[in-house]
Symmetry: C2
Subunit: 238 residues, 2 copies
Amino acid sequence: MTTTGQRRSPRRTEALSRERIVGASVELLDAAGEGGLTFRALSERLATGPGAIYHHVANKDELLGAAVEAVVIEAVGAPGAQGTPEDAIRAVATGLFDAADAHPWLAPQLAGRIARSQWGTVVPRLFESLGRQIRALGAPEGAWFTATSALLHYILGAAGQNATNTEKAHALGPDTDRAEFLDAVSTAWERLDPDDYPFTRAVADQMRGHDDREQFLAGVDLMLAGIASLPPSGGTAT
Amino acid sequence: MTTTGQRRSPRRTEALSRERIVGASVELLDAAGEGGLTFRALSERLATGPGAIYHHVANKDELLGAAVEAVVIEAVGAPGAQGTPEDAIRAVATGLFDAADAHPWLAPQLAGRIARSQWGTVVPRLFESLGRQIRALGAPEGAWFTATSALLHYILGAAGQNATNTEKAHALGPDTDRAEFLDAVSTAWERLDPDDYPFTRAVADQMRGHDDREQFLAGVDLMLAGIASLPPSGGTAT
DNA sequence: ACCTGAACACCGTTCAAGT
DNA sequence: ACCTGAACACCGTTCAAGT
């Protein structure tokens, strides 16, 4: 009957909750990569035993999925995008691009989950927000599904690749920046066998000195151009 | 080089080799999924101890990478494609599509490896064979890299998704075929909240009764249309 | 109801010892 | 050089026991 709330207050500093567990998981993943997320490391960080976590989360796969969702939802947020459909699509794309860059474990995780159709709530969300804009763009109805999933696959794939470039550049040493790393990659490409890899060699120089974000958005625009070029209706004849 | 040679024949049924190990790994992955590949299960199948494998393979990650490569190389094979560049691209695409369908672990593995830039020898190979055709298509040089990686990301993403559909359909029971499974998915989509998911609901009906391979190739054609619509040169202005 | 933490059934990997 | 297989240092997960 003392103090403010007179319900027996928890003695522990903070009660365990799914939210707190997911938050700590994201921190662990950011700090130590995918291998860093362990029920033991997690329970130590939360000052409990490993078994306690199972009261809030079914298993590790669900926990990883929840971490993915938390990060993606924070990144793309509310649909409140203004401007043209193209702008709205670019906003979703850059949101994922930046999130993948900030959380290097994100893109491989998300790509793997999509490939396994473990969609959770986040894939339908992304699909929906991209698809609405494709519809607004006036794409023929028969192409909606194809165009939306092509766009989503590209965004995730390219965002992930960029994130890994960042990571590998850092791994080469704190002084090494992206440009230096990309230069190393394109030099390696230029050393490929001219008979087996003529195209890759020809393209190697394009990697050098190109802004990744710009390259990424050029890819998005390429897809938009493809969509815009579709005949106005009934593409999927049978 | 078979038994004919009279060099002291090994007493064991067959000497261990990287090739045999990779072959057994693919069998294990096909039979029991990604979790089925274990150094213990593998060594049992090969009638050795787990330690023996390390004489031919550095670690599990390399082993998985080798399994991916073996399957992909068998699928897309030699570049000897004839016909138009479009046909050659479709040949690579359907090769990967079928391989992903036959080996459900392939697409998630490959997607994850690309996202982590663990390219091995197979990603450059795919990149090269797709890129050559994009060049042959007359795409502007500034778009080669972007167009090729967009195409590769789409192919892997969509092929993986299809493979999972096959798997999940089988999991529902041997009698359940794809059409039945896709029907269940689109019914679920139609039950989504009309306020939050208007687009996904609108698209749900398209899933029903559509041939997956056809849908997949429609996506490839969409990308080709985007590439064809590019201005003839110097797209990447700065 | 929630938490504890020892215990279980596995892993990948190593390494002395064999041939 | 190649193989053996016990041993090591981990995992995710469970579960009796506590509060």
